[in-house]
């Protein structure tokens, strides 16, 4: 963490449209250029993480150029890379500012729309595909179905305040809600399940760090980092599994909060006499 005071942004030192179009990586072909770029980038990242708040201005290009004794082009590239990563935001004629933080994400059995509204954002959905199809082996396994059993498959792009946030594919056993797609795709699948008396009561999420595929990056409008958070969710109601879904969240906008609690004590068998057969509850069946 830096101990030197942050240079205040100089007025008028904003990006020109031409600068915004400068290709990333240009001018960094030498080791020296790479090193200077890394120095200013590391400085900015530290400043953003530890000293600035959302909406604060970062030092101007001129101030950074003077501070590090490097070319304006290198400074500009470092700033642009952070803009592309979603860490900084540029406002035409005003300067460069710290972008909204990642969305803290305590996994709960809520829908994307409920989550977004709770954060004061307006949720949106673009249905990319919706059809009733035979379950592939993985989906059949997750939903305790037989391979080929009919499932509703839904592919949706979820947005918050108009910005793409996640891509989600979900599968619902068709026999549980045969008419799910009859009147178009319901706005909320959990809502439709609740209406059908299949209220989701619990589930399990699995997380994987990953890089977006080209198709995902295009749909999520990722411009810089391709880091995404993949989730696999099994949703259960009293009757059993009601939905399996795979989602891909933008890595630059999400962080996951996992509530922790003290573990329950581990259960170990009580000591027994050596010759005593296992007790009645412990019969083995082979």
């Amino acid at each position: 963490m830096t101990t030197s005071p942050a240079p205040s942004p100089a007025p008028g030192a904003t990006a020109t449209p031409a600068a915004a179009r400068a290709p990333r990586g240009a001018g960094l072909r030498t080791a020296r250029g790479r090193h200077k770029y890394q120095t200013v980038r590391a400085y900015l990242v530290d400043l953003i993480e530890n000293e600035l708040r959302e909406g604060d201005a970062v030092p101007s290009e001129r101030a950074l150029t003077e501070r590090f004794g490097i070319s304006r082009m290198t400074v500009r590239q470092a700033l642009e890379a952070l803009v592309a990563d979603g860490v900084l935001q540029r406002e035409q004629g005003r300067g460069t500012f710290v972008a909204p933080r990642r969305i803290d994400f305590e996994m709960r059995l809520t829908t994307f729309a409920e989550d977004a509204r709770r954060r004061g954002m307006i949720p949106g959905t673009r249905v990319l595909d919706a059809a009733t199809v035979p379950a592939v082996p993985r989906v059949a396994e997750e939903l305790a179905l037989k391979e080929g059993d009919p499932v509703h498959r839904l592919e949706r792009l979820r947005t918050a305040d108009g910005e793409p946030m996640s891509l989600e594919v979900g599968w619902i056993p068709a026999h549980l809600v045969p008419g799910l797609l009859d009147d178009g795709v319901p706005e909320s699948i959990y809502g439709a399940l609740r209406s059908a008396g299949l209220a989701p009561t619990w589930g399990e999420d699995t997380f994987l760090a990953a890089e977006a595929t080209d198709a995902e990056a295009a749909l999520l409008e990722l411009r810089g980092s391709r880091a995404v958070l993949r989730t696999r969710r099994r949703t259960y109601a009293d009757v059993g599994a009601v939905m399996y879904s795979q989602a891909c969240y933008r890595g630059d906008r999400y962080s996951v909060v996992v509530p922790l609690r003290e573990p329950r004590p581990v259960i170990v068998p009580r000591p027994r006499e050596q010759d005593e057969p296992a007790d009645t509850a412990g019969r083995t069946s082979p």
């Binding site: 305790a144 399990e204 099994r234 581990v266 259960i267 068998p269 412990g282 083995t284």
Partner: protein, 80 residues
């Protein structure tokens, strides 16, 4: 139709009985058990006992029991 709550006695049976169990660690929705001989574990029986999923990795057997994990764990402690 409603899936019955997972039954502790049947789960213990499907794990190969108390004699086959080294320990059972109750998590929020799973029972993570360490067994002596994984070949004595019967995943189909575990499913029939009300498990929503079974993951076996070496001697570690994870049984997904859902929100009833606490109750099932209490019953298991009595049986073991």
């Amino acid at each position: 139709m409603t899936v019955a709550q997972p039954r502790a006695d049947a789960i213990l049976d499907a794990l190969g009985g108390v004699a086959n169990v080294d320990e059972i660690d109750p998590c929020t929705t799973r029972l993570r058990s360490i067994v002596k001989d994984p070949s004595l574990v019967d995943p189909a029986l575990l499913r029939a006992a009300g498990a929503f999923g079974v993951m076996i990795s070496g001697r570690v057997v994870q049984v997904v029991v859902g929100p009833h994990a606490d109750t099932v764990a209490t019953d298991l402690a009595d049986l073991m």
